[in-house]
């Protein structure tokens, strides 16, 4: 291993350095090229890089208009997501920041009495999910659409979003015609203005009677946590807010504060997850895991300080086995992200834990003696399913055959609001040369070689998710999605 490198390998460390010294747009370009060339991979580095980048974007944002800030973040986000759609962590962070901005602007608007606290529903229903670039088929009669509100066709801030609007718009028209017969219900909301502004309704009746309004009781009420619905953020509403420059500076400062908190969350996610380790691991257990995930290793290390157990570690050949071997032998010696000193951790063997390394083929053979399986996903999806490194589906299925519980550990930043209509789209394919070398002429000429990097594991194979917020069943994840993301941001 060379100790002196002429130029550092491009990756997150170089990106962060670049970010410090260069203007924002250059950094965006740099990040986009890193993503495209897969020089920055795996959820955590991507999330951290995106957060830093957005921090700089917001910091260098000169305008006073919150709507413009939202636009700016959205456009940056679209660029990043388009660079690597399967790196869902990037999109998650962008959506988190957008949600943050909207929330802060709304809080500000609430405090500001001049603004009409009730605006038209700038809400897109939760059903309108169409991640850019990933083809999906969306039925007009799907359940989310039926119960929830339908978008207005009037010009909204989302008017410049891509074609997804049109599809749902047409559907909206169809359903509208059937349903708008009854008069709207009176609600507790103070300013019930005429029908130009859609009234707030709090009952399902009102929902069916007035399809223009999103119902706060429909599940999930994205972005709202109070029974009284917060008004949507529209350019109309924002335009009516008086131009108080003091308030705008506050907003920017608060957004920066929020993004820094997000950074802290990313840093502490592993520690917070590891804090739950002792709740889930007992003595003399045999735990199966695979790949070199930091989260899993730190989870096990936290338990290893107090309990003695055995870990069976499946090397993830061919994509992660070198890192897995390194993790088993040495733990993590230097951090890949920035210059964090506390990124180092010792291997499990140093704490007296027996680690048995097995090739992936032996997973079924030993599964009957395994007490639990711990997986680390690449992305967690809102339906409770997850995308993890190749081999995870085999392990999860073998575990389900043997009735062994499967635990997935991940930070909330990996949780994506995107619904996987087509699970094929989520799988990234890697270098076929790792499976069969290119020097092997016979194989290269006549044999097709495929190297999928990920597996999609459906929600019924996972028993528990442990996130930095605690443990949840897969059926609860949609709630966490609702807490962290906004409906109008899902479709960037």
């Amino acid at each position: 291993m060379p100790s002196v490198m002429l130029a550092p390998t491009p990756g997150i460390a170089t990106f962060l350095k670049h970010l410090k010294h260069n203007p924002v747009d250059a950094s965006i370009e740099n990040f986009v090229s890193l993503l495209k060339r897969r020089q920055i991979r795996s959820s955590r580095p991507c999330a951290i890089a995106t957060t830093h980048l957005l921090l700089k974007v917001v910091a260098t944002f000169r305008d006073r208009d919150v709507a413009k800030l939202v636009e700016r973040i959205r456009s940056v986000g679209q660029q990043l997501i388009a660079a690597q759609p399967r790196e869902m962590a990037v999109g998650n962070i962008v959506r988190r920041v957008l949600g943050l901005v909207r929330e802060i602007a709304e809080d500000d608007a609430d405090e500001n009495p001049d603004s009409t606290s009730m605006g038209d529903s700038g809400y897109l229903p939760y059903s309108n999910l169409e991640p850019s670039g990933l083809p999906t088929h969306f039925s007009n009669f799907s359940p989310p659409k039926h119960g929830s509100a339908l978008p207005q066709k009037s010009g909204l801030s989302q008017s410049d979003s891509n074609g997804g609007d049109d599809n749902s718009g047409q559907g909206a028209v169809a359903v509208e015609k059937q349903l708008d017969r009854r008069p709207p219900l009176l609600t507790s909301h103070t300013s019930y203005v005429a029908s130009a502004m859609a009234p707030q309704v709090t009952s399902l009746f009102g929902l069916l009677s007035h399809p223009h309004t999103p119902s706060p009781t429909a599940t999930p009420p994205l972005g709202t946590q109070s029974p009284v619905m917060k008004p949507g953020l529209t350019s109309r509403v924002l335009a009516t807010i008086p131009d108080a420059s003091a308030a705008k500076v506050d907003i920017k400062a608060e957004v920066l504060e929020g993004i820094r908190e997000l950074l802290d969350e990313l840093d502490q996610a592993d520690d917070q997850i590891a804090a739950y380790a002792l709740d889930h691991i007992h003595s003399n257990e045999i735990i199966l895991t695979h790949t070199s995930s930091t989260t899993v290793q730190r989870f096990l290390l936290a338990a290893a300080r107090k309990r003695k157990f055995t870990v069976i570690h499946a090397e993830a050949y061919p994509n992660d086995y070198l890192e897995t071997h390194a993790t088993i032998m040495q733990g993590r010696q230097k951090s890949a992200v920035g210059d964090d000193e506390d990124e180092r951790w010792s291997p499990l063997t140093a704490l007296g834990i027996t680690v048995i390394m097995i090739p992936d083929s032996a997973v079924f053979a030993i599964m009957s003696r395994v007490n639990k399986v711990i997986l680390s996903p690449h992305t967690v999806l809102a339906n409770g399913g997850l995308v993890a490194a190749a081999g995870a589906l085999t392990i999860a299925q073998a575990a389900s055959v043997h009735k062994t519980p499967v635990i997935a550990v991940s930070g909330v930043y990996k949780l994506s609001p995107v619904y996987p209509f087509d699970t094929e789209e989520l799988i990234e394919y890697g270098d076929a040369g790792r499976v069969a070398e290119f020097q092997d002429g016979e194989m290269v000429e006549s044999i097709e070689v495929v190297n999928p990097l990920f597996d999609y594991v459906s929600a019924d194979l996972v028993d528990l998710y442990i996130t930095n917020l605690g443990g949840h069943a897969p059926s609860y994840l949609y709630r966490i999605v609702a807490d962290h993301y906004r409906a109008e941001d899902v479709n960037l």
Binding site: G352, S361, F364, R369, G391, M443, S446
Partner: protein, 528 residues
């Protein structure tokens, strides 16, 4: 002192250590060669002991007490010596009463001194034991003690750094996975060094070919073994006093078989073939001429290979290839000769289909199959086992080979087969196993742990790691890392419910019919 107490360096408690004293040699099985050798010496030392005394009673408790006393005596003597007190007159008395708490440390300290020291110690111990037994209360045999003492200074050189390090070293020695501990006594041999003279050169060569995976695969090994035995039989000549049927099996064939077993554990098909061969030998008329008998045996072997393997294989290929329809996507795992035959047969028949070959570390047998099929003109896709779910999405049929079919309908095959069968079953893809009846066995299996073959862990190392290159990330130093074990099993057992059909030379069977067919095929060979 240490060896006679028991070669177990990991004795955590005094009681364990002292109780192992009389039968220390048996405990040494887990530890390395060193300690087993020393316990052998120790047991011989003890025998000297008993013979010398003439008072060796078989009472276990008494023997234990005696051993404890001896141990304590020896400890006291060492202590006294080190303190420089010289003549250990008071030693044995004091030692018999107490001082056992220090025992755990001392025997382990001495472990590291090396074999020679232990040998010296053992002899010294024997003498010391003798003397202490006779002395009982008072001890005046300064002569023998000093002689023993004279040998001891070498052994007792104390290295303080090692007293703490002992515990670590004992943990490092455990490189065997606990669950599979009963399988680690299967040897592997890579040289012909130490082989018995009776082993025929053809068998020597075969043994090495098997241990290096040059000849790999159940049927291939069976055929190769029978051919090597043919050569060995041709070279055989019956000694004067005995007859061929009585002598050949136990005195000529057995060393060959034992040698093969030391090279690599034999497969089920090889076991069945050996049983058949021995049966053939026994049933030879003792009056027949040697040459005739040998020719008969060789012809019998040829017929066995032809019937049970060659013709059976081709019959299976023919029937299984009828299960391949145009447009099929056949999924297979690793390399099975029968599956290869089947696919080639179907391809020759003109059926249009394609094949996905799955493969895994460390043997990569699937690469050979993929190449062979591609050479024959089939459309082949090659993937690793981690991509198995991806492959299973497109597959219409799964064809698997077998190492053995168990009598409870389970399939024993290359490790990873169960994964493929499970994924196929989850997607309702038919799983077809191609297996000759020579691979059927009476044994039953419920898991892949009780009966299996453990290959040396070094095979799991990547080539650079195996060569000892100090690449920081690789597993080059896995042996020195305490608590790290590499598990390299060769077979796994697939549950019967994942298998839809077994194709044998007798036709298509459900896995539950395997014991019935096994009975039929063995009855057929038994001459009544």
């Amino acid at each position: 002192m240490a060896p006679s107490v028991g070669g177990d360096p990991a004795a955590p408690t005094d009681t364990a250590a002292s109780q192992s004293a009389p039968d220390g040699s048996s405990k040494a099985a887990i530890d390395g060669a060193q300690t087993s050798k020393t316990s052998a010496i120790a047991s011989s030392g003890k025998q000297e002991n008993g013979v010398a005394n003439g008072e060796t009673k078989a009472s276990g408790a008494e023997a234990k007490k005696r051993a404890k006393a001896e141990k304590a005596a020896k400890r006291e003597r060492e202590k006294a010596e080190r303190a420089g007190a010289g003549g250990t007159a008071a030693g044995p008395q004091a030692s018999e009463q107490g001082g056992q708490s220090s025992g755990a440390l001392k025997p382990t300290q001495n472990q590291q001194k090396g074999q020679k020291d232990r040998q010296g110690e053992a002899k010294a111990q024997a003498q010391a034991q003798t003397s202490s037994k006779d002395a009982k209360a008072s001890h005046k045999r300064t002569g023998s003690v000093s002689a023993a003492n004279a040998q001891r200074p070498l052994a007792l050189r104390r290295r303080p750094s090692q007293s703490g390090g002992q515990a670590k070293e004992s943990k490092q020695i455990v490189k065997e996975v606990g669950l599979f501990g009963h399988l680690y006594n299967q040897p592997r041999r890579y040289t012909i060094e130490g082989a018995s003279k009776a082993v025929h050169p053809a068998v020597l060569a075969l043994g090495l070919q098997m241990s290096s995976y040059t000849i790999c695969g159940s049927s291939a090994r069976c055929v190769a073994m029978l051919l090597a035995f043919k050569k060995a039989i041709e070279a055989y000549s019956t000694p004067k006093e005995t007859s061929l049927p009585r002598h050949m099996s136990s005195h000529y064939l057995s060393p060959q078989i034992d040698f093969l077993k030391t090279c690599r554990p034999i497969s089920v098909s090889m076991g069945n073939a050996i049983r058949w061969l021995k049966d053939q030998i026994i049933h030879i008329d003792p009056d027949t001429d040697d040459g005739e008998a040998k020719a008969e045996l060789c012809a019998g072997i040829d017929q066995f290979i032809r019937e049970r393997i060659t013709v059976a294989g081709s019959a299976i290929a023919a029937s299984a290839s009828t299960k391949i329809k145009p447009g099929d996507v056949i999924l297979t795992y690793a390399k099975s000769a029968l599956v290869e035959q089947t696919l080639l047969r179907a391809h020759e028949a003109g059926t249009d289909f394609r094949v996905i070959v799955l493969d895994s570390r460390p043997l990569f047998e699937g690469k050979n199959l993929a190449r062979a099929l591609a050479r024959a003109g089939l459309r082949v896709q090659y993937m690793l086992l981690s991509a198995a779910p991806h492959a299973a999405k497109e597959a219409t049929t799964v064809l698997l080979g077998a190492h053995a079919m168990m009598s409870n309908g389970r399939l024993c095959s290359r490790v990873g087969t169960a994964v493929v069968a499970m994924l196929a079953h989850a997607r309702a893809i038919p799983v077809i196993v191609c297996c000759e009846s020579v691979k059927f066995t009476d044994r039953v299996a419920l898991d892949s742990i009780v009966q299996n073959e453990i290959a040396p862990s070094e095979e799991l190392l990547l080539p650079s790691a195996a060569a000892g290159v100090a690449d920081g990330g690789s597993l080059a130093k896995w042996k020195e890392t305490p608590g790290l074990q590499l598990l390299n099993i060769m077979y796994d057992v697939t549950p019967a419910e994942y298998i839809d059909m077994v194709v044998t030379e007798f036709g298509f069977l459900p896995p539950s019919s395997v014991p019935v067919v096994h009975r039929i095929s063995t009855e057929r060979d038994v001459r009544t």
